[in-house]
C-alpha cells in the first residue's frame, strides 16, 4: 500500500494567533499611581500587531519548527571551516549558573569578581594555546576579531609614523578577511595561491614593500593543509616591516601541536564557536577573541581585565586603545562555555582533539579519493577539500551532491569554497565523530558518485525527504518578501 507522508508543517506563529489569547503572566503592578508619567506625544498610537498565543502554542510551534532543522545533535554536520563539533551539555549548565547569566555588566567590579576572574584566566589560557602575549575577549565573532586585529596593526604603524595603505590576502581566503580589512580602511590586494592552496612565495615577495601594512593568512589553509614554509613567510614579512595576521578559523587542527605566536604571527583570532565548542545557535552568537604580541598591547580594545594583587578590575585607562567593539566586555556567556571546555579537556585532551580531528579528516579523504578528485594531495590537517569536477561531466554539481546528502541523512559540507577549487566540497568531520559515522557518510558520498554516473536524475531531484524541496532563490531575490503581511 502506498504510504503518503503527513504534509509538512507550514505555519508561522502569526498564523496561530487568536485575539485575546495570552501566553504570559506578570505580577500585578503593586506601586500606586498610573503610568501617567509618559506624556501622550511619546505614546504608541496603534498597538503593535504581534501574535496572541498560549504558552503551549509556543511550545508546540517551536518544537515543530525545530524538527525542520538538521543540527549537530541530530545529524553529522561536516560543514568545512565551521568546526561543527559536539557542544557539551555541561557548558550550558555552567553558563546558566545564576552568578553568570543573571549578572549585570555594569555591576561594580567588587560585585563581579568571579566573572572577571574567569575572563582573566581564559585570556591567559588562550594566550598559552596560541603562543601570544595578550588576548582581548571583546570581539563578538571572528569577523569582529579580524577588525580589531587589523585596527591594532593600523594603530601600531601609525604610532611609528608609518603610512602603509595595503593588506595582502590570498585568493583562497574567507570572505570576512577582505571585508574586515576594507572596513579598517585598507586597500585589499589579492595574492595568488598555488594549486595546493599554499602561498606563492615569489608572488608574495613581489608585493611586499613599504606600502603594505599586513599579510593575512589562514593556517592551516582553506584547503586543509599546513603551510610548510610558514616561518619563512612570517620572517619575510617582518623583514619588510609587514605585520602578519593569522585567521584562526582552523585552529582546531593544531592545538598543542603548533602555536601561531611561535610561527611568527603578530595577531590571531580565535573562534570560540568553532574550536572551543560554544554552540553555533543557527548562525550565532559566536565569540572572536583576538591574541596579540606584546608590541600591540597598548592598542587593545578597552576595557582590559587586569589583576591588581588578588583583585580583578576593568582597566579603562588605555589612551592608545583602538576603542570598543561592543558596548560591554565581550560575549561573556560564550566565554564561560569555552572556559568550561578548556578546563574539561586539559592540555592532553586539547592535543588529542587535534590529533583526532586530523585522523578523521584523513580517513574521510582516503575513503573518498577513488570516487572524487582531491583538491590537493594528502595528508591533510583537520579538513579536506574534494572537487566534484568528475561528477560535473555527468551534469552533477557540488550543489546537487550537497542536496542528495540531505536525503541520505547528513548535513552538507561547505560548497563552492575555497573559490580557487572548482566544484568544491569542503569536509570537516571534527574529532567528536566516530569511525562508524564517518563510514556511513563516506558510503553515502560514494553512493552519490555512482548515482551521478548511473542515475543523475536521482541526484538532480534531491532533496525529496526534507520539509521542502529545492527553493526558488531567484524569486526570493527578485521579489523580496522579508516579513509576514498576513
Amino acid at each position: 500500500m502506498a504510504h503518503k507522508a503527513a504534509p509538512a508543517y507550514d505555519k508561522l506563529v502569526f498564523e496561530l494567533s487568536s485575539p485575546g489569547r495570552q501566553g504570559y503572566a506578570l505580577p500585578a503592578n503593586d506601586v500606586p499611581g498610573a503610568a501617567d508619567g509618559v506624556p501622550a506625544k511619546y505614546r504608541r498610537t496603534i498597538p503593535a500587531a504581534l501574535p496572541e498565543v498560549s504558552e503551549f502554542d509556543v511550545v508546540r510551534h517551536y518544537s515543530r519548527l525545530s524538527r525542520m532543522n538538521y543540527g549537530v545533535d541530530t545529524h553529522f554536520y561536516p560543514l568545512g571551516s565551521c568546526t561543527m563539533k559536539y557542544n557539551p551539555k555541561l557548558n550550558e549548565d555552567m553558563a546558566r549558573l545564576p552568578g553568570f547569566i543573571a549578572l549585570h555588566p555594569l555591576a561594580p567590579d567588587a560585585a563581579s569578581q568571579g566573572a572577571l576572574t574567569l575572563m582573566y584566566e581564559l585570556g591567559r589560557m588562550l594566550s598559552e594555546i596560541a603562543g601570544m602575549d595578550a588576548v582581548s575577549l571583546q570581539p563578538a565573532a571572528g569577523a569582529q576579531g579580524e577588525l580589531a586585529g587589523v585596527l591594532m596593526i593600523r594603530a601600531y604603524h601609525a604610532s611609528r609614523g608609518e603610512k602603509r595603505t595595503k593588506v595582502l590576502i590570498p585568493d583562497s581566503a574567507h570572505g570576512t578577511n577582505p571585508a574586515s580589512t576594507a572596513l579598517a580602511g585598507y586597500e585589499v590586494i589579492e595574492v595568488k595561491s598555488t594549486r595546493d592552496g599554499e602561498v606563492e612565495i615569489d608572488d608574495l615577495a613581489r608585493h611586499l614593500d613599504e606600502t603594505v601594512a599586513a599579510f593575512m593568512i589562514t593556517v592551516p589553509n582553506t584547503l586543509g593543509n599546513f603551510e610548510p614554509r610558514i616561518i619563512e613567510i612570517t620572517n619575510l614579512c617582518h623583514s619588510k616591516g609587514v605585520q602578519v595576521y593569522m585567521d584562526g578559523a582552523n585552529l582546531n587542527a593544531i592545538l598543542g601541536i603548533a602555536r601561531p605566536g611561535d610561527l611568527g604571527f603578530d595577531v590571531c583570532h580565535f573562534n570560540l564557536h568553532k574550536t572551543f565548542t560554544t554552540p553555533h545557535g543557527g548562525g550565532g552568537p559566536g565569540a572572536g577573541p583576538v591574541g596579540i604580541k606584546a608590541h600591540l598591547e597598548p592598542f587593545l580594545p578597552t576595557p582590559v581585565v587586569v589583576k591588581n594583587g588578588e583583585v580583578y578590575a576593568l582597566d579603562w585607562k588605555r589612551p592608545k586603545s583602538i576603542g570598543k567593539l561592543q558596548a560591554f566586555w565581550g560575549n561573556f556567556g560564550m566565554l564561560v562555555r569555552a572556559y568550561t571546555y578548556i578546563r574539561t579537556m586539559g592540555p592532553d585532551g586539547l592535543r588529542a582533539v587535534s590529533d583526532n580531528a586530523v585522523l578523521n579528516a584523513n580517513y574521510v579523504m582516503k575513503r573518498l579519493e577513488q570516487d572524487y578528485d582531491l583538491a590537493a594531495p594528502g595528508p591533510c590537517m583537520h579538513e579536506c577539500v574534494v572537487s566534484a569536477r568528475r561528477q560535473k561531466k555527468h551534469g552533477v554539481t557540488a550543489m546537487d551532491i550537497a542536496k542528495r546528502l540531505l536525503d541520505l541523512g547528513f548535513y552538507a559540507p561547505s560548497t563552492y569554497f575555497p573559490l580557487i577549487v572548482e566544484e568544491a566540497l569542503m569536509i570537516e568531520p571534527t574529532e567528536t565523530e566516530s569511525k562508524q559515522t564517518l563510514d556511513a557518510f563516506c558510503d553515502a558520498m560514494i553512493q552519490i558518485a555512482r548515482e551521478a554516473e548511473r542515475a543523475p536524475d536521482l541526484v538532480h531531484e534531491a532533496p525529496v525527504t526534507t520539509p521542502v524541496r529545492r527553493l526558488d532563490q531567484t524569486k526570493a531575490a527578485r521579489e523580496p518578501d522579508l516579513k509576514w503581511t498576513g
Binding site: Q473, T474, A476
Partner: protein, 129 residues
C-alpha cells in the same frame, strides 16, 4: 556559441554598444547573462551622470554573483532603462533588445573604434574568457 549580433561592438567585459544617431545604447551580451544566471537586480546611474570608458557605471546581480558594468564609451548618460528595476529578467530574456541598460552621448567619438567587432568578440569568447 552565444548570440553575437554583427552590427554591435563589444568590450572584453562583455558589454555591447549600438550606435543610434548621436548616441549609443549599451547592455550586456548574451554570453554575460548566461554566465551570470538569473539576473535579479540591476543598479544603473541617473540620467545626466558622466561615465568614463572602462570604468564601472553600475552593477548587475544574480542570486550568488555580482558583476560591475563597465562603460564601453565615455560620455553622459542620456537615458536609462526604467523597466529593469521591476523586471530584471528581461536582461536574460532579451539582452540585446528590451534588456538594454543605458544610452550614452559620447564625449570621445574615437573610442568606438577601439571596441571589439562582433568577429573579434567571438574570437575572444572562443579563446575561453
Amino acid at each position: 556559441m552565444a548570440n553575437v549580433p554583427a552590427d554591435l561592438r563589444y568590450t572584453k567585459d562583455h558589454e555591447w554598444a549600438k550606435p543610434e544617431g548621436e548616441r549609443y545604447r549599451v547592455g550586456i551580451t548574451a554570453y554575460a547573462q548566461e554566465q551570470l544566471g538569473d539576473v535579479v537586480f540591476v543598479e544603473l546611474p541617473k540620467v545626466g551622470a558622466k561615465v568614463t570608458a572602462k570604468q564601472s557605471f553600475g552593477v548587475v546581480e544574480s542570486v550568488k554573483a555580482v558583476s560591475d558594468l563597465f562603460a564601453p564609451l565615455s560620455g553622459e548618460i542620456v537615458e536609462v532603462n526604467g523597466e529593469l528595476p521591476g523586471a530584471p529578467q528581461v536582461v536574460n530574456q532579451d539582452p540585446y533588445g528590451q534588456g538594454w541598460m543605458i544610452a550614452i552621448a559620447p564625449s570621445k567619438a574615437d573610442e568606438w573604434k577601439e571596441l571589439l567587432t562582433a568577429a573579434q568578440y567571438e574570437q575572444f569568447l572562443t579563446e575561453g574568457h
